[in-house]
């Protein structure tokens, strides 16, 4: 049955067949993200041989690793971006992509996230924000909405969620966009832009977790969660004229930043060139 479905999927060539079917729960937004990413790669005609995908720990970390057929590095919890930094320095001509969740990248990995944005290293991060720790059983996350119920906030969440896109934009990224899994075409376009930008790019995808989040917050059907996203999404242009009170509980979507800034690995190589020039180390053949 599963085999039949996969054989009809036109982008199957991008997937690691021996790893299928996926371990994702029915109704999970992870499939949408994987599909959007595969579409973006396909539309840009990126050869998967020119891709390295890095992820951390958690449900969303599985989306592209192991399922996407490229070099994939599945790392420790929270550290995917730091691992990817080493990969990018070694392979500056490849597209280095990090796909992981909010708990992984913005909580335990928050430090690496803001510093990679500050450095503006040419890595594309697709951050899947489902407001919850899914794999460990639905505990409260730094992205859980104020007042929401989880297994470790059984009465209600009294902490305010981290605004990931706003934070990363402020830290200095070249490109930042936020969409939900209900905005698939916009999401694909943003992933395409992010992959092409020379610098640190982040695409935050608000994604449904009906099993761990929805079930405990009166939205146990995936479609209910998608309707919640659609109803509460506010385009960034409109949000600019709204007060914080009006924006409470809304999802601001769209492009936050799209700008050119000096990129880290380019600067690093420029520096090496200058130093070698300065010390008269340039030979007939450049060994770098």
């Amino acid at each position: 049955m599963a085999k039949e479905i996969y054989s009809k999927y036109p982008l199957i060539k991008y997937l690691r067949k021996e790893a299928l079917p996926t371990a994702l729960c029915p109704g999970c937004g992870g499939g949408t993200v994987l599909n959007a990413f595969a579409n973006a790669v396909d539309q840009l005609k990126i050869d998967p041989k020119d891709l390295v995908v890095v992820s951390g720990i958690g449900c969303s970390a599985w989306i592209a690793s192991p399922y996407f057929l490229a070099d994939t590095l599945h790392t420790t919890h929270g550290r995917a971006i730091a691992f990817a930094t080493g990969v990018k320095v070694g392979l500056p001509d490849k597209k280095v992509v990090v796909i992981s969740g909010d708990g992984d990248l913005a909580s335990i990995g928050g430090n690496h996230l803001i510093h990679a944005a500050r450095r503006n290293i040419d890595i594309t991060v697709i951050l899947v924000n489902n407001f919850i720790y899914g794999m460990t059983g639905g505990q409260v996350a730094p992205t859980t909405p104020f007042g929401a119920k989880t297994t470790t906030s059984p009465y209600r969440n009294i902490e305010h969620p981290l605004q990931i896109s706003e934070t990363v934009a402020a830290a200095g990224a070249s490109y930042v966009a936020r969409w939900t899994t209900a905005h698939v075409y916009q999401l694909i376009e943003s992933i395409k832009k992010a992959l092409q930008v020379k610098g640190f790019s982040l695409v935050e995808v608000i994604s449904q977790c009906p099993v761990q989040f929805g079930r405990r917050n009166q939205m146990k059907e995936p479609a209910e969660m998608l309707r919640w996203y659609l109803k509460n999404s506010v385009p960034i242009s409109k949000a600019k004229n709204m007060s914080p009170e009006e924006l409470e509980g809304k999802f601001v979507i769209g492009e936050f930043v799209n700008r050119e800034r000096p990129e880290f690995v380019t600067e690093l190589n420029k520096l090496i060139d200058e130093v070698q020039e300065h010390f008269g180390l340039k030979g007939e053949s450049d060994g770098v």
């Binding site: 192991p66 490229a70 070099d71 590095l73 599945h74 930094t85």
Partner: protein
């Protein structure tokens, strides 16, 4: 596929930059030059006393060689970036001290499980916690061995001088590359900051090893197999179209995760142990002085091995048959040699700058009829010749 630092161009650059001869330098600097000679072209680190001069030397020298210095946001990010870079073909190193070493432990385990070559220098300082942050110690003997979780082997070396650090770090890189494994160098704050004579050799006198790369497509498809029977799989580097999957989770020979089949975990973890066990000849190293006729054996390592040698020499002058055994590879411990030596002597003194760590390893290889005693000192000041000699006299 290339391993960075391998090109003839690099030999030309090293020859041009570092003239052979005698230099007066810090242990940390000597160690850094050793790393450069070994082919290290990627360093990711985070400053911490007493290791910082290694970062400073690497930041200054690496760009000249076309290499990369990255100052990461913390120690965890540093070792993570090293692993990423190693999979693209770099020889990689970081240096840290006790607290930073603690932070790196999780990813050290990741490097063991994913069989990623890297060199991690721990310039030991006095702890626990911030302790005496600027003082030397030898308290991380077991942190190197058991700091990360799970069943895992580890290789750790410990140099006894600046000159020794130059060569031992080269040996660390060679072992890491040959066995596709992380190697820890247990240096210490005293040697790190001691300035002494260091002889820099001609780069062509230095023997350098590079990791095994897959010979064909078939080998590349099994990044965690054992095609040569030595327990060491060839390493398919990223960016060459092999679609390699690397994970710290239990994985099959093709790299894909399988955490449910007991045999898969058993086979993988036992092989990782076996490759270290069966390749003992690659890394085992120790020094001996006057052990042929010794009745009293001093065992010591790292910085303390030097006053220990002084004490043994003085004891000999006094007619005491003392000898010295210095494990240079401290993990896996040279237990067989220790056992042989233990049969010939009546007393063993273990001298170290801690309250007794290596002594626990030594004890495992001694019979009950041998008198075993620790010579220990903490407080950030190394043991002196006199202090060790006094203990030798005490058991003579």
């Amino acid at each position: 596929m290339i391993i960075r630092g391998d090109e003839p161009e690099q030999i030309r650059l090293i020859k041009k930059l570092y003239k052979p001869g005698n230099y007066f330098m810090q242990g940390n600097e000597a160690l850094s030059y050793g790393a450069l000679f070994a082919g290290c072209r990627f360093y990711a680190g985070y400053p911490i006393t007493p290791s910082s001069e290694i970062a400073e030397t690497m930041a200054r020298e690496l760009p000249k060689l076309g290499g990369y210095y990255l100052q990461m946001e913390d120690e965890i990010g540093s070792i993570a970036a090293m692993v990423g870079a190693s999979w693209t073909g770099f020889k990689v190193m970081t240096a840290t001290a006790g607290p930073g070493f603690s932070l790196m432990q999780e990813n050290l385990g990741y490097a063991v499980m994913t069989e990623t070559p890297l060199v991690l220098v721990d310039v030991q300082r006095s702890g626990p916690s911030t302790g005496q942050a600027t003082k030397g110690a030898q308290g991380d003997f077991f942190q190197a061995r058991w700091g990360t979780h799970g069943d895992h082997p580890i290789v750790a070396l410990s140099p006894t001088s600046g000159q020794d650090a130059f060569w031992e770090v080269i040996r660390a890189f060679n072992i890491a590359e040959r066995l596709r494994t992380p190697v820890v160098v247990l240096f210490d704050g005293v040697l790190a900051h001691t300035r002494e004579l260091v002889k820099i050799p001609d780069v062509e006198e230095v023997e350098i090893t590079y990791r095994k790369l897959p010979a064909n497509e078939e080998e590349a498809k099994l990044p965690f197999g054992d095609p040569h029977g030595d327990g060491v799989p060839p390493m398919p580097l990223f960016g060459h179209g092999y679609f390699t999957h690397v994970t710290g989770s239990t994985h099959k020979e093709n790299g894909l995760r399988d955490v449910y089949t007991p045999e898969v975990h058993d086979k993988l973890v036992r092989r990782i142990h076996r490759k270290i066990e069966q390749n003992r000849h690659v890394y085992e190293k120790y020094e001996e002085h006057f052990t042929d006729d010794a009745e009293i054996l001093v065992v010591s390592w790292g910085v303390t091995a030097r006053p220990a040698l002084g004490a043994v020499l003085k004891a000999r002058e006094e007619g005491i048959k003392a000898g010295l055994f210095v494990p240079k590879t401290v993990h896996p411990f040279p237990g067989e040699r220790m056992r042989e030596l233990g049969k010939k002597v009546r007393a063993v003194l273990v001298a170290e700058m801690n309250l007794g760590q290596m002594i626990i390893e030594v004890e495992r290889y001694l019979n009950d009829d041998v008198l075993l005693k620790g010579v220990n000192k903490i407080g950030g000041v190394p043991l002196t010749v006199e202090e060790i000699l006094r203990e030798i006299r005490g058991v003579a």
